[in-house]
C-alpha cells in the first residue's frame, strides 16, 4: 500500500483550544488519523475530557496554558518538546468572542479578544518555529473566520481579530518560506459546535432560519474544519502557503 500523501499519521501536532468546540473535534479526528497530539488550553479539566475522547492508540499530552502569558510560553514549549519530541505542526483553534454593537464594546474587549485570538498564536509560533523545536517542513494552521471576509453586525472586535489572522498569515508565510515551513488559515462559517447547537436550540424557529439563511449547503460540522486542517497539515499541501481556505458551505461565494 502506498503512503497516503494527505495523511498526518505519525506527526506530532499541537492544538490550542483543545478543550472545546472545533479544537476538541480536531483533536479527536487527528487522533483517529494517527497523529500524536499536544493539547493546550486554559481549561485543564475540559482538556482531560478531550483526551478521553481521543483514540488511545496515539500519544496525547495535555498542558494547561494561558496563551496570553508571553513570558511563560518559552518554558511551556521547551517542556512540550522535551516530552513529545520535535513538532510537525500546530493548529490554533483557541479563540474568544463578544457579541455587542460596536458602540458598546470597550477598549478592554478589543484587547482581550485580540490577545487570545491573534497574539496568543504569535507567542506560541515564536517558540514553536525555533530550529530546535520543529521537525522539517513544519506546517501551521490558524483558525480565522468568514467575518474576516464578509460583514456581520455585532462582531466588530472578533471580526477585527480574525481579519488580523488572514493578514498575518501572508507575512508569516513569506518569513517562514526560506526555512521550508508553511502557514495557512481556515475561515469557517457557522459551525454546529455543542455550544452553537445549544444556542440554536434556544432560538425560535424564525431566528434559527435566519441563522441558517445564506448557507447554501446548510450549517457546518466541526469535522468539516478538522478535515481541512488535516489537509493543510499534511505533506500533500506542501506548496500551499499564506492562504485562507474558506470552509463555509458557500456562504461567502453568494
Amino acid at each position: 500500500m502506498v503512503k497516503n500523501p494527505l495523511s498526518i499519521e505519525g506527526k506530532t501536532i499541537v492544538i490550542t483550544g483543545g478543550a472545546s468546540g472545533i479544537g476538541r473535534q480536531c483533536a479527536i479526528d487527528f487522533s483517529n488519523a494517527g497523529a500524536n497530539l499536544v493539547l493546550l488550553d486554559i481549561n485543564e479539566e475540559q482538556l482531560e475530557i478531550t483526551k478521553g475522547l481521543c483514540n488511545p492508540d496515539v500519544r496525547c499530552s495535555c498542558y494547561s496554558c494561558d496563551l496570553t502569558d508571553a513570558n511563560g510560553m518559552g518554558t511551556i514549549v521547551s517542556q512540550v518538546v522535551a516530552e513529545n519530541g520535535l513538532i510537525n505542526g500546530m493548529l490554533h483553534c483557541a479563540g474568544i468572542e463578544k457579541t455587542l454593537p460596536y458602540n458598546k464594546l470597550s477598549a478592554n474587549d478589543y484587547d482581550r479578544i485580540y490577545s487570545v485570538n491573534v497574539v496568543g498564536a504569535m507567542n506560541l509560533l515564536k517558540y514553536l518555529t525555533k530550529k530546535n523545536n520543529r521537525a522539517e517542513n513544519a506546517k501551521y494552521v490558524l483558525i480565522a473566520s468568514i467575518t474576516a471576509v464578509v460583514g456581520r453586525p455585532g462582531v466588530a472586535a472578533y471580526a477585527a481579530s480574525k481579519g488580523a489572522i488572514v493578514s498575518v498569515v501572508k507575512t508569516l508565510a513569506l518569513e517562514m518560506a526560506s526555512k521550508g515551513m508553511t502557514i495557512n488559515c481556515i475561515s469557517p462559517g457557522t459551525i454546529l459546535t455543542p455550544l452553537m447547537q445549544n444556542m440554536m436550540e434556544s432560538l425560535t424557529e424564525e431566528q434559527q432560519a435566519e441563522r441558517k439563511a445564506g448557507f447554501p449547503l446548510g450549517l457546518g460540522h466541526p469535522s468539516d474544519i478538522a478535515n481541512t486542517a488535516m489537509f493543510l497539515l499534511s505533506d500533500g499541501a506542501r506548496w500551499i502557503t499564506g492562504q485562507n481556505i474558506v470552509v463555509d458551505g458557500g456562504y461567502t461565494s453568494r
Binding site: P5, G34, K170, L174, L217, N227, G236, T241, G250
Partner: protein
Amino acid sequence: MTNYNPFTLEGKTILVTGASSGIGRSAAIECSKAGAKVILTARNEERLRETFSLLADVENQPAWITADMQRDEDILSLVEQLPTLDGVICNAGVSINVPIAFIDREKLQQVLNVNTIAPILLTRQLVKKKKVRKGGSIVFTSSISGNNTVTVAHEMYSASKTAITGFMRNAALDLAAKGIRCNAVHPGMINTPMVHSGKYSEEQLQKDMDNYPLHRFGEPEEVAYAMIYLLSDAAAWVTGHSLVIDGGLTLK
C-alpha cells in the same frame, strides 16, 4: 485503529478531462491511488492510453473515452456514455501568450474555447443529464493568472481563467440546491510539459523560479492532492472556493 482517512476516494467515480498530460495525467493517477475509478478523456488516444497504463488498480479501471471538447457532438456523446459520477476534474487547458498587438480572433477563440467554453458546456451537459450524484464535486483547473496576479502577454490566458473562476462561483450557488459542490484550483507555475515546451528559455524559467518564496515551481501531484481534497468528503462543506497553490508567489 488509527486509519481514519477523510480523503479517500474509494467507491467514487471521477471524470478527468485533459488527462493525457501534465496536471490532468497526475490528477488521474493520484485519484486512482486514492481509490477512485477514473474515467479519462482527452483528444489524443495514444497519450490517454499511456495515462491509463499508469493508473493504480488498472485492471479494474473503466475504459477511457476520447473526445474533443471543442466539438458539441463529442461533449454530447461523452456525457451519454458516462455512468453517474461522484466527481469531475475539468482540467483541459491551453496557453497562448503573445503581446496584445499580436492577439487575433483565431488565437483568442482557441484559448477561450478550450479553457472556458468547453468546461462550461461540459458542466451544462452533465447537469442536464443528471450525471453528477448528490454530494458530488466538480473541480475546475483555473490559474493564479488574472485571478491573483498579472503577467505581460498573458491577457488571453488570464481572460479565460478568470472567466472559468467566475463561472465556478456562480455554479457553486446554482448547484448547491442539488448538493453538488464546485471549486477551483489556482496553481502557480507547475512543472508540466506546457512549461518546458521551449516556450520559455531556461534562463527565464530560473528567474521565475527564484521569484517563488519556496524557490521552485510546483509539481503536478501537488495540484492533484488539492483536487483530491476538494473531491473527497473531507471538503463536504467547501464550495465556491478558489484554492491557490503557488508556493506563496502571489503573497508578495
